[in-house]
């Protein structure tokens, strides 16, 4: 029997997310964004959250709605400012939300490190820039690096294309983005998929996220 739970509804999928949790949220723009899970998290009520995601919400829905509901203490992301990020912009300018800006590749690699048991890593990105201020530096073979620490999630909310009952996931096109990395980096990984299939219906050669990383799956038909 698989340890992955196929959830009956969105409330079951997000049950048990605590106040103060660090939540990794997949997606790049709307591609791969687990919108139903985010809506369910708003209904569930957890607050004082730290959100790790590439962006800080668009328009009034999804992450922006979670921010607007006052549930988020801090955002860790690479690119908060967008043409329609007015919810985040307003909170930030009113000093009602904290922001840690992380280069996009460091965001991904710091989560990869968390999922892979790496204590920290020396990275050349950002050397000599304000984002390296205060970080431990080292020169290795003539190149300068700064030390970057893992980003671990209590929970990951990700979007995928198809999941099977063993938790194996495949993605679709550029909607893959942060999903496979975030799935490895959280204690509780919850995937929103457009279809759940039986074990054996996904060719093992095409599985991108093995079921070991996936705790709960919610089917949301497109």
């Amino acid at each position: 029997m698989s340890r992955t739970t196929i959830c009956d509804d969105a409330a079951e999928a997000v049950a048990g997310i605590d106040d103060g949790a660090t939540v990794l949220v997949g997606g790049f723009g709307m591609a791969g964004m687990p919108t139903r899970l985010i809506d369910a998290l708003i209904e569930q009520g957890a607050t004082d959250l730290t959100i790790v995601s590439n962006n800080a919400g668009n328009g009034d829905t999804g992450l922006a709605a979670l921010l607007a509901a006052g549930r988020v203490r801090k955002v860790i992301c690479s690119y908060p400012r967008q043409s329609d990020s007015y919810v985040f912009d307003g909170l930030y300018r009113a000093d009602k939300i904290a922001l840690e800006v992380v280069p996009q590749g460091n965001l991904a690699e710091r989560m990869r490190a968390a999922g892979a048991g790496i204590g920290a890593f020396f990275c050349p990105t950002g050397v000599g820039t304000p984002l390296a201020d205060g970080k431990e530096a080292r020169t290795i073979d003539g190149r300068d690096y700064v030390l970057e620490y893992p980003i671990r999630g209590d929970v990951a909310l990700i979007g995928a294309h198809i999941g099977d009952r063993a938790g194996n996931l495949v993605y679709r096109k550029t909607a893959r983005n942060f999903g496979p990395v975030m799935a490895t980096a959280a204690r509780l990984t919850i995937a929103e998929v457009s279809r759940v299939v039986d074990v054996g219906d996904i060719d093992p050669e095409t599985v991108v996220t093995p079921g070991i990383y996936v705790d709960r799956i919610l089917e949301v038909k497109p």
Partner: protein, 223 residues
């Protein structure tokens, strides 16, 4: 157009400055056939329109695709298939998808040949500033700019040469917060193309302006 050999400067004085599409075409011509290339958001995406299909240049988009096609329209629009600017694109034969950590490993690991980025300022040493004005009320947002700056084998900058106040954006020292140190190889502007070499800034071509006039308007030495 006259070919440039070595570091001899070619002055194109029989014409005005390049428009954006002409500038994109000049950059496209300088990208070697078969290169793996990342085009930054904004003006640099225009370069794609001028790459000859037979050159076999493969476009990388940092949100997780190699062999990216052009902008999608009509029935080809798929919300799961977008570029780094979140614009719907197409999937030509030979394309591949990968997750974000792989995409940036590809970049940071030195596997991309060229990236083309916009800039606020480039210093004479090749320092790049393109992510933050440093204004107190500005919301900082870096995206993949720092990863690209240190990752690609050759970093090309595409920008207007002069700021709104008339000062040149190639400067002795950047005053805006830096994106990367000593990372820019070449700067393409509407008035001239510059090589940022370790010992000097060299003018490759000028368009509608002489090197003498360019010198008079810039605060750095030009070779």
């Amino acid at each position: 157009m006259t070919a440039t050999t070595g570091h001899r400067t070619v002055e194109h004085l029989d014409r005005g400055p390049l428009d954006r599409n002409e500038l994109a075409a000049v950059i496209a011509r300088d990208i070697p056939a078969g290169s793996y290339v990342n085009l930054g958001i904004g003006q640099p995406t225009l370069v794609a329109d001028h790459l000859a299909p037979e050159a076999g240049v493969v476009l990388h988009t940092e949100n997780g695709m190699l062999g990216m096609g052009g902008a999608a329209s009509g029935d080809d629009v798929d919300p799961d298939l977008i570029n780094a600017g979140k614009v719907p694109v197409t999937e030509p034969p030979g394309a591949s998808y990968f997750h974000h950590a792989d995409s940036f490993a590809m970049m940071r690991g030195g596997h991309l040949d060229v990236c083309v980025l916009g800039a606020f300022q480039v210093s004479r040493d090749g320092d790049l500033a393109n992510w933050h004005t440093g204004a107190p009320d500005a919301i900082p947002a870096v995206g993949g700019a720092m990863d690209l700056a240190i990752g690609a084998k050759s970093v090309f900058v595409m920008m207007n040469l002069f700021a709104k106040d008339g000062t040149a954006k190639i400067v002795p020292t950047c005053t805006y917060p830096l994106t990367g140190l000593r990372c820019v190889r070449r700067v393409y502007t509407e008035h001239a193309v510059f090589d940022i070499d370790s010992d000097a800034v060299r003018v490759r071509d000028t368009f509608g302006i002489s090197v003498a006039d360019l010198r008079a308007r810039m605060a750095i030495e030009l070779s």
